[in-house]
């Protein structure tokens, strides 16, 4: 009968589909997580694929929260996050999870204000006031006092934050918790918080898009997103009192203090560090790798990739405005890679 014929055709198609492309020797890895380092990760996985054509690392940028959750659910081979996993989260994992720092990045305050093209200066008080919803207009004294000579309009500030679970949010709220006791008490730090005000965008991509499209907006995004999309971003006052703009030098300076005393599990916060030249809202970002792999082919690829990433891979960071890992950290990581079984 016709129906039977149609189904046999379909069945043949299915079998073909399964067989035809599943060539032997291909190693397919699925990963998910942070949007913060997505530009450099997508570059790296692409470069690695060009060099090893049988390896495909499919990375989906769904946010650090998603990376952690999918890793714990074991639906991806490894995850990525800019907020290190908490002890509670690590306890729920069935295999130990290792953190591997990959690059240094910066969360910057980016804005879209009529008539303002240059860099605005933001104090910790201004930033926490804005995100708490207490500073509501661009010409509020908290902002104006740090920007003498800049004509700030009386427009409302449209705060933009993340709607998804985000390591960038973790970095930002970590900083705000350190500089503002009120923030620490009312909101706290996490990948997903109860934001007092603002619009939510999905991923660094979504927040960047909202800032682009919404006049009067202020949001926090990773540095490269502002650069690639030509969004202005401001300087932030660090713990020594200097207004610092995020760039390779200031981000590396933020990590300098911690480089020599990096803990063995690599989980460390570098927001609001010491140092005159340090940018206060910088962070490492980590790949979350299970310590045990059941599939040896995948394990070998992961180890090889990590080794490549801390050596050759680091050469591509600076073009995308991510700072390289300090060499002490690299040395420590090479030793840690051996822990993956």
């Amino acid at each position: 009968m016709r129906i039977v014929k149609i189904f046999s055709v379909v069945a043949v198609l299915l079998v073909l589909g399964t067989v035809a492309i599943a060539e032997g020797g291909q190693v397919l890895l699925n990963a998910a997580g942070a949007t913060f380092p997505y530009p450099i990760y997508s570059k790296w996985f692409d470069q690695y694929h060009q060099a090893h054509s049988n390896v495909q690392i499919n990375y989906q940028s769904i946010g650090s929260g998603g990376g952690i959750r999918q890793l714990l659910d074991k639906t991806v081979d490894f995850g990525a996050s800019d907020g290190p996993m908490s002890d509670d989260q690590l306890k729920t994992a069935t295999v130990p999870i290792l953190h591997f720092p990959t690059v240094l990045g910066a969360a910057i305050p980016s804005y879209n204000v009529a008539g303002v093209q240059g860099d605005l200066n933001f104090t910790p008080e201004a930033l926490s006031g804005i995100f708490l919803g207490k500073v509501t207009k661009w010409n509020d004294p908290a902002i104006a006092s740090a920007n003498p000579g800049v004509k700030l309009p009386g427009d409302d500030i449209v705060v933009v934050h993340r709607s998804d679970g985000s390591g960038t949010s973790y970095i930002w709220t970590d900083y705000l918790s350190k500089v503002s006791p009120e923030w620490q008490q009312k909101v706290g730090k996490a990948t997903s918080v109860n934001w007092p005000v603002g619009l939510g965008g999905k991923g660094n991509e979504g927040v960047s898009a909202l800032i682009q499209q919404t006049p009067g907006s202020l949001g926090y995004i990773e540095l490269i997103y502002a650069i690639q999309n030509h969004l202005p971003y401001g300087k932030v006052k660090n713990s020594s009192g200097a207004f610092v703009k995020a760039d390779l030098a200031s981000v590396s300076a933020a990590a300098a203090a911690v480089a020599k005393s990096m803990p063995d599990d690599f989980r460390v916060s570098i927001t609001n560090p010491e140092g005159k030249a340090a940018y206060p809202i910088a962070s490492f970002t980590w790949l979350l790798i299970p310590a045990k792999f059941t599939d040896t082919a995948k394990r070998d690829v992961v180890k090889d990739f990590l080794k490549w990433m801390v050596t050759d891979g680091q050469n591509s960071c600076e073009a995308l405005s991510y700072a390289k890992l300090p060499k002490e950290v690299v040395a420590k990581e090479m030793k840690a890679i051996a822990q993956i079984q």
């Binding site: 769904i62 946010g63 650090s64 929260g65 998603g66 990376g67 952690i68 959750r69 999918q70 714990l72 989260q89 409302d156 449209v158 709607s163 998804d164 679970g165 909101v187 706290g188 730090k189 996490a190 990948t191 997903s192 918080v193 109860n194 934001w195 005000v197 603002g198 619009l199 939510g200 965008g201 999905k202 909202l210 499209q213 919404t214 006049p215 009067g216």
Partner: protein, 329 residues
Amino acid sequence: MATTPNAATPADLAWSPRALLRRLRGADEIAHLITLIAAATLLLITALLVYQLWVLSAEARTKFGWNFFVTRTWDPVAGQFGALPFIYGTLVTSAVALALAVPLGVGGAIFLAELAPPKLSSSLTFVSDLLAAVPSVIYGLLGVFLLVPIMRTTIQPALKKWLGFLPLFQGPAYGIGFLTAGIVLAIMIVPFVLSVSREVLLAVARDQREAALALGATKWESTWKVVVPAARIGIFGSVFLALARALGETMAVTMVIGNNPRISASLFSPGYSIAAVLANEFSEATGNLYLSALIELGLVLFLLTFVLNGLARLLIVVTTARGSGVLPT
């Protein structure tokens, strides 16, 4: 049925292996069995769905109980989850959508059912059905790049200027928010209101109209005062159907609503809907309570649409039955 080959004899109805085999060879039994299994699979899938929703939301349900529906906080850090902002957002955007879509849809249906010649009526309904086939993400695409800027630069400021004394139209004009989401939803559900209302209007018996006209009513009066009331129940049904559809819309809404769990009287404010928060937070909810709270939201949405759809079908069936004379008016 007269005796057909393969008809079962009394011996076959016994349960011995030979009799069973004989019965199975009779293709009717197999066909009956196979089709029954197919139908049962549907029942199984749906039952499994409801079961999963119920079980996976257990942790949140036991922890929060009925408070879940009146708590405003959605705080993953503190482990406090309340559904109110999402229910509010879902209802507000749907209300805006209905406020716009029902007049458009019913008005259009009146035109198509009462005024337009049959061929024009069918072709225009055809076009409306095509509108219903447009994927949600396309509406979202147009919403983000076309509607949001227009809302922000033109419509919202105008509303603020002329109607700003109403709390509905106060606050900064982001372009994104309840109103924009409501408008996008309205465009998406108009075809449903239109086509179902048109059908129920057409089902109203001819003599009703003719009686009105014979008594000297104008066409409009005949329509508005006689036909529409007769079809009223079915029109409500179409509204419920459209509402059920609006409640579950995900993509178009999440792209223009602002994704902030906030309750505000202003339509310009960003908000959140149940479907949108599920899309954004489901794949990253760490911790069982968080996940469970999200699934409880899913359960709430499911129940809402379930009830609305059931009511809608009932109302539509009743009206068309009445119109065709099966049920008394």
